[in-house]
């Protein structure tokens, strides 16, 4: 059986959200090992920290999350957004990400469900 993913990197340009996401995930037993406010910093942080999971915002100041999924060195990349899945349909599948979570749905259980698949 696969070990439960533990380490998470949060890539999102809203500091408030990063703080609340960290709090939510840590309350559910995840270990948030890093935060990054944009794509470039996120890619660098992922390379350095090699997290199990990267939470990657779709709207970043230096580009779209969809475009950098493939450059993220991590176990799984999960795209997040305030918009919901229906707005993005196809793009999620084609990006190579593990899946998508609407930000207001983020918690240990929903994240676990995505990354523990397959």
């Amino acid at each position: 059986m696969e070990p439960v993913p533990r380490t998470v990197l949060i890539v999102d340009d809203h500091a408030g959200f990063r703080r609340q996401a960290r709090r939510a995930l840590e309350a559910d037993g995840y270990q948030v090992v890093g935060e990054a406010p944009n794509g470039a910093a996120g890619i660098q942080a992922a390379a350095e920290l090699e997290p199990d999971v990267v939470l990657l915002d779709v709207h970043l100041p230096d580009g779209s999350g969809f475009d950098i999924v493939s450059r993220m060195l991590a176990g799984s990349v999960v795209l997040i957004s305030t918009h919901d899945r229906q707005d993005y349909a196809d793009l999620i599948r084609r990006s190579g990400a593990r899946g998508f979570l609407a930000k207001d749905q983020l918690c240990g259980a929903t994240l676990e469900a995505l990354v523990a698949e397959g």
């Binding site: 809203h14 709090r23 939510a24 749905q105």
Partner: protein
Amino acid sequence: MMDHEGRIVGINPAAERAFGISDDEARGREMAEVLIPPTMRGAHRHGLARLVAGGEPQILDRRIEVTAQRADGTLVPVELTITRAAVDGPPLFVGYLRDIGDRIEAEEALRRSRLQLLRATDEARRRLERDLHDGAQQRLVGLALTLRLARGQVERDPAAAVELLDEAQEDLASATDELRELARGLHPAVLTDGGLAPALRGLVARLPLEVSVAGVPEGRLPIDVESTAYFVVAEGLTNIVRYAGTQRAQVEFELSDGSLAIEVRDFGRGGADPDAGTGLRGLQARVAMHEGKLALTSPPGRGTTMRVEVPCAS
């Protein structure tokens, strides 16, 4: 007047003025050479030949828009009607020309202002989407996360749950305030309900400025005029807060026969650039649709005055 071989038989004084050529100079010359731009001469000659040969009667007695040429070579858009003169013998054609340069210019101006309004509308929508996304939506997301956490703590650690619920209440209050502010920016309810006077009082109260307001029209005006007037003042005062480096401003209204004039004035920095800023562009588009006028005077160091005039049926 032109004969069947395309030669000018005569032109009247009005045509002399319009084309810059005298009747004496024009008579006897081929009209194609004198009044028609080079690129269209071939078509004209062919058309005339066909007409004389009995074809193309449909070109007669109808208004056609063409480009004619003055004696000095400049082109002029004209509306042309050709009739056949009722004389015996070879056909004689009379052309009636009207300079439509002004009308074409007006059509161009209308097209430009429509495009400007469309762009301004799209820009405003994008800004709204951004404001909603970055503001209220983010707060509500945060609220969802906090409430879920609180829910998880209710049995385990009630004190922590209480703290989280207090936090949630504060976040909710902020979100509501932001949405309220957004709605005001879109269109304040008080403007619809009470008109300019109360809407302006509310606007001025919320700004860090000392504003003297004079001449606010008593009674209601057409809704679109009130909206434009409100947004002129809102935009003008907002720009003063942002750029003018001063805390005093003047707003003056003047309702005269058929027109409302609005002036927003400060005595601060000056040097405002009318082309910068989407807010001002949006205003220009609005004012253009009223067929009104917007003028920005802003000598560096000497303050800024924005003056808008909109037609107003009283």
